[in-house]
């Protein structure tokens, strides 16, 4: 029997140093990329893991509780010191504490330490003494923690029902009222609903948590300020995984808190994706038409040659320049006039005469236009003349030839252009700062209110969010994990957007085989 043979791999390997060099540079690039993603993933995602809280007893009798963040040599002396994140900003004025390693007597992990996430003042780390209910009842000892968990769940349900009422009953009624369409009955229903909300808000559990830090200071913490409560040292791995996924989910689905240094990034994810999608919608037809004109219609002379060179060079213009252009032309120029003509009633507060979603996506569309044009043109140029002649010879007009043969065949190239454009646009921050990105815009630009898509609104962006948290937040160290997580998310969002386009392109290609047959 014959055996199937294939060229030996060794033959391919023994091609000399240049092959090694090439392979080496590929490996280095891949390693750096993996390092980057690994760093972002570990630092960013690790943040949501309910890590064990250490109780540190010092030689001088002092105690502190928190997480070790990093170690470094003592300034001046020998020995090392360790940084702990101890939370309790309201009590200590800071959430960090440097400890000399030599002064540590003992580190333990008692299971009764609690971590409370709060709306203000960073987390609390310490012990739960008791829960004081509204009626003055005091639940302490063993049953304090279960009571806290129960009351917290009740509080969350309460809040959710208020939110539902606001969203499903009050909002639509208010809209009708504003439009002047509300009947007497609806007015009554509205005030009834508003009364209900007031009542429910008044009925929010007013429990007080009696807390004590590990060095013995007491704190009376209203339950309404608490968003989450954990006893990390008492949790099993399963519980931690659940808590971790809840944390990740909250990060993805909630708005930011504490001047963008805590909380979630949902508005920024939404803003980034929406802006990129709008940008693609603007840039694709323009880029494709321009490329078709340059390649198929225009006389191929000196002028088209220079136009081509110009377009290619536009791709190299720094993005901030496009931002300046967008600000001057779109925002102040076009936007200002739109306001004068159509929104004069709300002047001097601008509607379109200020940065917003529309101007930002248009600016980025302009920025990425050369990429789409160049990629599409290359695709068009690759289509053999015989295909065009084949269509013409069957009685197609030039327009039919373009729409039925040339453009479908150039579709993968166009999508390549869009992919490149998306990759570039999603990562741009500089021009956005001039034309519409906001530090805080918790209201996403799409909602149930006519016209549903609010192109004039400012929006949040992951890239700007990183920049803002890193440079404008009060405590960079505290925001660092969230910065890593946001960076990871930005990379993932770009990846998803690109994969969508690549999938689309592959789908188109595989339908009829490729051009390079």
């Amino acid at each position: 029997m014959m055996t199937w043979r294939r060229p030996s791999r060794r033959a391919a390997r023994s091609e000399g140093p240049w092959a090694w060099l090439a392979a080496g540079s590929v490996a280095t690039s891949l390693a750096l990329l993996a390092l980057l993603l690994g760093l972002l993933a570990v630092r960013g995602l690790g943040h949501f893991w309910p890590a064990e809280v250490s109780l540190v007893a010092l030689d001088d009798g002092r105690q502190l509780a928190g997480w070790a963040v990093k170690e470094s040599p003592l300034p001046g002396g020998d020995g090392r010191e360790r940084l702990y994140r101890t939370g309790n900003r309201d009590l200590d004025g800071a959430i960090w504490d440097w400890v000399d390693l030599d002064e540590i007597r003992e580190v333990s992990h008692p299971s009764d330490l609690v971590v409370l996430e709060r709306r203000r003042w960073s987390e609390f780390i310490g012990r739960l003494e008791a829960v004081e209910t509204e009626s003055g009842e005091r639940i302490s000892g063993e049953s304090a923690w279960p009571a806290l968990e129960r009351r917290l769940t009740a509080l969350e349900q309460h809040r959710a029902s208020i939110e539902r009422l606001r969203h499903q009953v009050i909002r639509p009624l208010v809209l009708r009222l504003e439009a002047g369409e509300a009947s007497e009955l609806e007015r009554e229903r509205l005030s009834a609903a508003q009364e209900q909300v007031r009542e429910q808000q008044a009925a929010l559990p007013k429990d007080i948590l009696i807390l004590e830090t590990v060095d013995g200071r007491q704190l009376r913490q209203p339950l309404t300020e608490v968003t989450d409560a954990l006893q990390p040292n008492a949790m099993g791995v399963g519980e931690k995984v659940v808590a971790w996924s809840q944390g990740v989910w909250r990060f993805l689905s909630e708005g930011p808190r504490a001047a963008n240094t805590a909380g979630g990034v949902w508005p920024a994810i939404f803003g980034t994706v929406l802006m990129v999608v709008l940008m693609s919608i603007f840039v694709t037809p323009f880029g494709v038409l321009a490329a078709v004109y340059l390649n198929e219609v225009a006389h191929q002379g000196r002028l088209t040659h220079w136009v081509r060179i110009g377009v290619r060079n536009l791709a190299g213009v720094p993005s901030i320049v496009y931002g300046v252009f967008g600000l001057g032309v779109f925002v102040y120029g076009i936007g200002g006039h739109l306001d004068d003509w159509f929104f004069s009633s709300s002047l001097p507060s601008p509607t379109f005469g200020t940065g917003g979603l529309l101007w930002a996506s248009l600016t980025l569309a302009l920025l990425t236009l050369p990429v789409v044009i160049v990629a599409t043109e290359e695709g068009l140029a690759r289509i053999p003349e015989s295909q065009r002649e084949g269509a013409l010879a069957l009685g197609a007009t030039r327009f039919e030839m373009l729409t039925r043969i040339v453009l479908p065949m150039a579709m993968p190239a166009m999508l390549t252009g869009v992919i490149l454009a998306v990759a570039r646009a999603a990562g741009e921050v500089a021009p956005l700062m001039l034309v519409g990105v906001a530090k805080l815009a918790p209201q996403v630009p799409v909602d149930g209110e006519f016209p549903f898509l609010h192109l004039d609104r400012k929006f949040m962006h992951l890239g700007y969010h990183i920049f803002d948290a890193a440079f404008h937040g009060g405590d960079v160290q505290a925001a660092m994990p969230l910065i890593y997580a946001t960076a990871l998310l930005l990379v993932l969002v770009i990846l998803v957007l690109n994969l969508t386009a690549i999938f689309l392109r592959h789908h188109l290609r595989s339908r009829h085989g490729t051009l390079s047959k």
Partner: protein, 270 residues
């Protein structure tokens, strides 16, 4: 011989056909690419429902002439021409002639098969769909008829939805012929249709040409003397953009009047 009856007069090395058997009439036709002449003062008549072969050395202008017959040169801004070409008595360059309509009447099959990147079915239906909406049944019928006429039906009937690019070169060439037949041309121009094919596929295409003769006027460009002799009724020999000799194929190959023709067909090129 039928040839003699159709032939009105044959002075020198040329035959001529009476207008009522003429499909294409080329008169005083010249063509330049920029200022480089490719065809000069060319006059001949192509008889209806016959196969006419154009032979001649590479670069003599055969493809150029063929492309002039359905105005494919229109796209090329460098091309200038003189003289007239008439299809059934009508000047094809007249302003009232719609070029898309002309190209439907004068179909063209190129030297290299150029199926579109679509299914086999869609390739054949492409030209039909350009002519407006048509009932699906009718499109199906025409596609089947065209594929049968080009002797491809049996090979592809079970995979009409497969990509046309998955066919072999010979099949692709027959597909392209089917695609052209589907729009119902009166004249079919074939530019070296078998140059890239193996002997079996070549024979199939040649047989196809002979069968199509009953309903179509065919013009065939070929470098293969045997092929010209096998399938064509009349042969025109071109050299350096000029028509050298035009005669019934039998006559031209057995008894050429000019030494240039004889040298070329016997392989003794100057």
């Amino acid at each position: 011989m039928t040839v003699m009856q159709e032939t009105r007069s044959s002075p020198g090395a040329f035959i001529d056909f009476s207008p009522d058997v003429t499909s294409l009439e080329i008169r005083g036709f010249g063509l330049r690419y920029g200022d480089k002449p490719a065809l000069a003062n060319l006059s001949l008549r192509v008889p209806r429902h016959r196969v006419t072969a154009f032979i001649g050395p590479s670069g003599c202008g055969k493809s150029t002439l063929l492309r002039a017959l359905n105005r494919l040169h229109d796209l090329n801004e460098d091309v200038t021409w003189e003289g007239t070409i008439r299809l059934e008595g009508q000047d094809i360059h007249a302003p009232e002639v719609a070029v898309a309509e002309l190209r439907r009447r004068v179909g063209m099959v190129f030297q290299a098969p150029n199926p579109f990147p679509m299914s086999i079915y869609d390739n054949v239906a492409f030209g039909l769909r350009l002519q407006g909406r048509m009932p699906k049944r009718r499109v199906d019928d025409i596609v089947e008829w065209a594929l049968r006429s080009s002797a491809l039906w049996d090979e592809v009937k079970d995979r009409l939805r497969a990509s046309a690019w998955s066919l072999s070169g010979g099949q692709q060439q027959r597909l392209v012929i089917a695609r052209t037949l589907a729009v119902g041309p009166e004249v079919l121009l074939l530019d070296e249709p078998a140059s890239a094919l193996d002997p079996i596929s070549t024979l199939k295409v040649e047989e196809l040409i002979r069968n199509l003769k009953s309903s179509l006027t065919l013009v065939l460009v070929t470098h293969n003397m045997q092929q010209a002799a096998r399938v064509s009724d009349y042969t025109a020999f071109l050299q350096d953009g000029e028509l050298v000799e035009y005669a019934p194929t039998d006559t031209l190959f057995t008894n050429p009047r000019l030494a240039r023709t004889e040298n070329y067909i016997t392989g003794r090129m100057a």
